[in-house]
Symmetry: C2
């Protein structure tokens, strides 16, 4: 007896739900072997430099003080593999309360996306957001408040993400200290992860955020680059494209709310291949948390639809839809981070560097 | 007619003063060729991690706020060359108002000491000081002042080094914008250098400075390491040794004031090979500047003498005494930075890794 179509569909779905994640996504892996983390790493070049920045004159607070400082510069650290010139470089920008450490060694000691991408022939540029880490910040207001020139209320709201808030926002589990049963984040290394979480001074930034401008300028300087953002910076690639799309070859946005854009803005984005990624458990957090990832997901589904409606090439990569379960908001550090990197690399090969052939 | 001894001495001195710096110091170079910056860089391993850190509970400022944060952790980024296990690794710590960027690409685009050392078979660990850059800082007081819980006067004194102060303290020239005739700092890249200068929040730190404790702990974790500091952190290697010398194989201190130590403290330092470096023009800055490098030099000469009097192996490497002229306070970024790195590497070979033979 021939099985009706719906039972075949159901069987396939059931199979997908019960197969281990690695087996399920084999088809989605790009050609070529996974990067070997223990083989020597060969670099054509590495280094660091700054993008942007402007001179600001600060008031004297005593003899020998006052003068010019540089603000709004963005620190960038890069590594170029021997064959890196053949593919578009990738600029990675971290999220709230974090630094470029996000993309380096994972909390449990595996290689991060930055080295993984380099081992897969992609030049990688890690940018510390303006006002964070090695990019520095505009400190004038602190001196002004200390000296009584401006009231304390004008101090920026420094975001100091607690362990409790981070656990919830980064979706490590439904309640603090209790991971989801299929949690992919290496929660045994939580203490090391908490050390990555540093104060966020973005409230000091002017509008538009200089990080957006600097990301667009970096893409031009590199003669073309893919911009990647995460969480707080998730939509920064698009914001950079709305300032100057000329150097931007691709947009990769990981887990953030997507704003509603004007038709003209959508038309600009529609000229650039766009990938949006979301992990698992978007609906499984208790209500009232700092982040509402289900709402963010919905807003980004609408954004992707708008871009495609305007003739663009936008893709929503919702990992559970690929059968990949348990990913947190810090998916680049999750246990299956190599597998997820391979998905991004496959997307890059197909949507950004298709004309260059596969490696 | 045989020339009297004093005329020969005078001739040698005259010759030394008129020869170009590179020729003068050829003898001081270590065995082996200079590192080739354009050859591929091969790494056995690279990554980043944190040392130290403790949990602090912060007050709630509204619903969902308050909880635990991690403070006093130190971010460390490392690269290990293929033969790096054969020599003691070097931990480099930057100075005031700077980050680990200090040791990376120079402002004029050459490789910095970190990559140069790696290319010379030394594993290098770059640490961002606690309260700076990717190490983050304790932000509690900013929220407390903003909320009116503590007075503005309790805000830390954030050091915001102006371009004018930096020019003077880093000895780029006698007056702002005018370099010394033999200045080795690449002043044409001053704008790029100024972008490295970021606000210094060390006034937030407890005593003893957690960076000292973390540096000592890092040396233990690495199974032995050489600690290097510069300027604000110049004496940090010694401070770390006074906390726990057990992992410290060498101390390299670049341009800082040296405090007076007790005989017991000197005895601890005297067990560890120690190198102190100073550049040129220590007496050529106008009086009244933020830094008095001539006084710092004198204090460190006294320190070196005390260590040697106690049977230690301490060396004052005053570059002009080797015929090397024009070096600034940022000597690791000066035009002759490779040459200076080779001097340090030669010292390491001889004083720290002598038992392992030369490479």
């Amino acid at each position: 007896m021939k099985a009706p179509v719906w039972t075949i569909v159901l069987s396939v779905v059931t199979l997908a739900l019960t197969m281990p994640a690695t087996a399920q996504t084999k088809k989605a892996q790009p050609a070529g072997r996974p990067a070997k983390a223990d083989a020597p790493l060969v670099l054509k070049k590495q280094g660091s430099f700054f993008v942007g920045g402007e001179t600001k004159t600060i008031a004297a607070t005593g003899p020998g003080t006052g003068g010019d400082v540089t603000v709004n510069q963005m620190y960038v650290q890069f590594q170029i593999p021997p064959r890196g010139d053949r593919y578009a470089p990738v600029v990675m920008v971290h999220g709230c309360c974090l630094s470029s450490k996000t993309w380096e060694t994972t909390p449990d000691g595996r290689i991060g996306w930055s080295e993984y991408f380099v081992r897969k022939n992609r030049a990688v540029y890690l940018a510390d957001q303006v006002s964070r880490a090695r990019s520095g910040f505009d400190a004038a207001v602190f001196a002004d408040v200390k000296a009584g020139r401006v009231p304390p209320a004008q101090l920026p709201n420094v975001i100091n993400a607690t362990h409790q808030v981070a656990w919830s926002v980064f979706r490590f589990g439904p309640t603090f200290g209790q991971p989801f049963p299929d949690e992919q984040f290496p929660v045994e290394a939580l203490e090391e992860f908490n050390k990555q979480v540093i104060p966020d001074l973005n409230a000091l930034l002017p509008n538009p955020n200089p990080t957006w401008t600097n990301m667009a300028a970096l893409a031009v300087r590199l003669g073309g680059a893919v911009l990647m953002g995460h969480s707080e910076s998730g939509f920064f690639p698009e914001q950079a494209a709305l300032i100057d799309p000329s150097g931007i070859k691709g947009l990769i946005s990981i887990e953030m709310p997507c704003p509603t854009l004007t038709p003209a803005q959508i038309a600009t984005i529609a000229k650039i291949p766009t990938l949006v990624m979301f992990g698992d458990h978007l609906n499984d957090m208790p209500p009232g948390g700092v982040a509402n990832w289900a709402a963010s997901f919905d807003s980004c589904k609408a954004f992707v639809a708008e871009v495609n409606k305007s003739g663009g090439d936008a893709q929503m990569m919702h990992l559970p839809a690929l059968g990949i379960r348990g990913n947190s908001h810090m998916l680049m550090q999750d246990r299956n981070s190599d597998q997820l990197a391979d998905l991004v690399l496959a997307w890059l090969d197909k949507h950004v560097d298709a004309k260059k052939g596969t490696r």
